[in-house]
């Protein structure tokens, strides 16, 4: 019996819907199965699979010359055993701070690139490498088209790393194939994190902005007239400990999860 055009269309649609890279509203059928615990309970609660998705592109938009990368990702960097590659960082990472945060310097590799072609080629190579556990890449003066971002996104599917691309705030206006897009902003006492887009969660159901307290030491000395106020949050950076915070667990550390 000859197949009708309707049958053909149904089969084609079925094939299309079976593609893992098609977004299907809040369906979580083809979501990345492995997530890394972020080290922050609030962030985990807002993310599908309770952690940063691996094998997919994560995009973080930051304002201007604000750098909050290491606050966000320090728990992951300190916990793993694979390589951490910093691709095209805006300036030099300071080894003393990394050691203080409990990050093994033997795992940290810095790659500096000159132009966009080198950046894309390096990103693709590193994202595909099995032993690269975390890839943090910074888009600085380059501008990426959707096609180029898609190339990066496809490369992340072939590896096993958590691949994060830091982009300027203005990139929020541009569409992106990233599975997770967030924006961060530093405020007087905390960092505000907004989830702009997340595969598997409808836009209107995205969680409220998350506020991560800044380390106490960053707050500095209070003005004289505020010295008697003790209500300010005393949370320290993950990795730092004090007598006050030792009893209170600021983040639930969970093993790598695999969803069946």
């Amino acid at each position: 019996m000859n197949s009708t055009p309707t049958d053909n269309n149904d089969a084609a649609l079925e094939r299309l819907l079976n593609r893992t890279d098609i977004w299907r509203g809040d369906s979580r059928l083809f979501l990345p199965q492995i997530a890394l615990d972020s080290g922050y309970t609030d962030i985990n609660a807002s993310l599908v699979n309770n952690g940063w998705p691996t094998r997919s592109l994560v995009e973080v938009c930051q304002k201007g010359f604000q750098q909050q990368e290491l606050i966000l990702f320090a728990p992951i960097l300190a916990a793993g055993t694979g390589y951490i590659v910093l691709l095209n960082p805006p300036t030099l990472p300071f080894c003393q701070a990394l050691i203080q945060a409990g990050i093994n310097l033997e795992r940290v590799i810095v790659v500096q690139v000159g132009n966009k072609a080198d950046f894309l080629a390096s990103f693709v190579e590193l994202a595909r490498t099995e032993s690269c556990e975390v890839l943090l890449a910074w888009q600085q003066h380059q501008t990426f088209s959707y096609t180029e971002l898609r190339k990066c996104s496809l490369a992340t599917n072939e590896g096993a790393a958590l691949c994060v691309l830091f982009r300027p705030d203005s990139a929020q206006q541009q569409s992106s194939p990233a599975v997770l897009r967030i924006s961060t902003e530093i405020r007087p006492t905390d960092i505000q994190l907004k989830i702009l887009k997340q595969k598997g969660v409808l836009q209107q159901r995205q969680s409220e902005p998350i506020n991560l307290s800044l380390p106490k030491a960053w707050r500095g000395l209070l003005p004289y007239h505020l010295l008697d106020q003790t209500s300010l949050d005393q949370t320290l950076l993950p990795g730092h400990s004090s007598a006050a915070t030792a009893k209170r667990k600021s983040a639930t550390v969970m093993p790598i999860k695999k969803r069946k």
Binding site: F65, L70, T91, F94, I109, V110, V111, T129, L214, A217
Partner: protein, 511 residues
């Protein structure tokens, strides 16, 4: 069987010694050395003086200052690797005449040379004189001065090269022994101390020593002048030491092993103008190279591609790998990275692959633990391949690790090191307790002092500090008071006041 009997027949050997007495100066390829005094030195002592310097009185072993005072000579340092390379090149060429080639380097004089056993090659080259003619023809094409002589032993030929004479090729062992006996003992350069002892005892020629051996056996020489010297005399004259039973065979000859390298090429049927079309031939040649390396248990880090056109224009492409490889995949990727980044200089007619720097691939160490090492080894290898590709694209300097360097100034303590170097992570307590920013600026940025206060891309407010850091007093004394500052957009900066210059600078960013 007949050939092997002839080969091992005692006394049938014929050695040709080629002595290069001016090798130290000739390998340096100096210009106009005939008209000026030139000496070659090693450890501040003269080891070679040319004719002008010798005429002025410079002798072997003289102090370099004395030599310059005597002859106002030009002094050059001896280059032993170049000399060894020259001898290796000569050996490789002389391999066409005989497979038995030994290198001889005199330890106490700057003489070096080659010892060729030619008895098995005489028939092929129609006799001694014809063979010698071929060898001399070749040596004339080299820049080296040489002396040569024949004898029945290698060391004998070497000694006779100091007093060469014309031979017909019909000479016997007795003839050579007689000539050797007439040589002065001063030619035994490898035994300077023994020469003095021999002189005191009244020995003047090698013949005096052989007469002693004939009268009192070799053991007397062994007892008085040592085992090594006795062995050397036996080697020179081919004397059997064990008188109870003569050895059945001569000492086996050392077979020269020429340096092996891989070179293969493909001639195309039509000229190739696009680099994409070279991918398949490159893969084919690299697979052949991989087979060659694996069969010999070798690995290489460097290959050379030679592209040529019909007008004999050549283009060389050097490909270096970070680790020694016997598999072709990484070399293929590295080649394509280089090839894709440039246009073909001409229409390619032939493609040649050279690999001269192969080495044994068994040097890599492996862990003997039985957990997940196999997986981690595979992971480490894949990462090494990725890094090698990135280095080929970005250069070695673009990829680095961080290490703590024991220094007080932050910018000096933050070291970028190569990937194969170990990181120093022993942070002193003084730094462990201090608050440090995650990012350091590559160079400190000057902060403006405005009426409202400090200004760097926005208004700054001091939050905490100071932490005084002083150091580098021996070079450029530095004293700084570090503060944490908050900018108007809430970014925390690490800033300092230079106590000498009284200026404010941004040094790092907390993040």
């Amino acid at each position: 069987m007949a050939s092997s009997r002839r080969y091992y027949r005692p006394g049938s050997r014929l050695w040709l010694a080629l002595r290069f007495s001016q090798l130290p100066i000739e390998v340096l390829q100096l210009e106009d050395t005939d008209n000026k005094a030139v000496v070659i030195t090693e450890k501040q002592r003269v080891i070679y003086a040319n004719a002008s310097a010798s005429t002025a009185g410079v002798r072997y072993g003289a102090d370099i200052t004395t030599a310059q005072l005597l002859s106002n000579c030009e002094a050059h340092e001896r280059n032993r690797p170049k000399e060894a390379q020259a001898l290796a090149d000569l050996s490789a060429q002389l391999y066409q005449f005989t497979p038995y080639i030994e290198t001889y380097i005199c330890q106490h004089l700057p003489h070096a040379g080659l010892l060729l056993e030619i008895s098995t090659c005489l028939k092929l080259f129609s006799g001694v004189r014809a063979l010698l003619g071929h060898i001399i023809d070749y040596l004339h094409s080299t820049p080296y001065t040489y002396e040569y002589e024949f004898a029945h032993t290698a060391k004998g030929a070497w000694l006779l090269s100091f007093q060469p004479t014309d031979i017909s090729g019909e000479e016997t062992k007795t003839f050579f022994c007689e000539r050797l006996k007439r040589l002065p003992i001063q030619l035994l350069h490898d035994f300077p101390d023994t020469i003095d002892a021999l002189k005191k005892t009244g020995f003047t020629t090698l013949g005096d020593i052989t007469r002693q051996i004939d009268a009192q056996k070799i053991s007397s020489i062994k007892k008085r002048f040592g085992l090594k010297f006795a062995q050397a005399i036996c080697d020179i004259f081919s004397i059997e030491q064990d008188l109870q039973q003569n050895s059945l065979f001569d000492k086996p000859l050392t077979v020269y092993k020429p340096v092996e390298f891989f070179s293969e090429h493909i001639q195309f049927d039509y000229p190739i103008s696009q680099s994409d079309q070279l991918h398949h031939p490159i893969e084919y040649l690299l697979q052949n190279l991989s087979q060659y390396l694996r069969k010999r248990q070798l690995a290489c880090q460097h290959i050379e591609w030679k592209l040529a056109d019909i007008y004999r224009n050549n283009f060389l492409l050097q490909v270096y790998s970070d680790s020694a490889e016997s598999h072709w995949e990484l070399l293929y990727d590295l080649t394509l990275i280089q090839l894709d980044s440039r246009e073909l200089p001409f229409e390619v007619d032939s493609l040649t692959l050279h690999c001269r720097d192969a080495r044994l691939s068994q040097n890599s160490s492996q862990s003997l633990t039985f957990d997940n090492t196999r997986k981690s080894r595979a992971g480490a290898r894949s990462f090494a391949i990725t890094i090698a590709k990135l280095k080929a694209r970005l250069g070695d300097a673009a990829i680095y690790k961080l290490s703590y360097r024991d220094a007080l100034l932050p910018e000096i303590s933050n070291a970028a090191i190569a990937l194969n170097e170990p990181c120093n992570q022993d942070l002193p307590d003084i730094h462990k307790k201090a608050l440090r920013p995650h990012w350091l600026l590559p160079s400190v940025a000057l902060i403006e002092l405005r009426k409202q206060g400090l200004y760097w891309r926005g208004q700054l407010t001091l939050l905490a500090g100071p932490e005084r850091i002083r150091g580098n007093w021996w070079n450029n004394p530095t004293a700084r008071d570090y503060f944490i500052a908050q900018r108007h957009d809430n970014v925390r900066l690490w800033i300092f006041l230079d106590l000498h210059k009284k200026t404010w600078h941004v040094h790092g960013i907390f993040g």
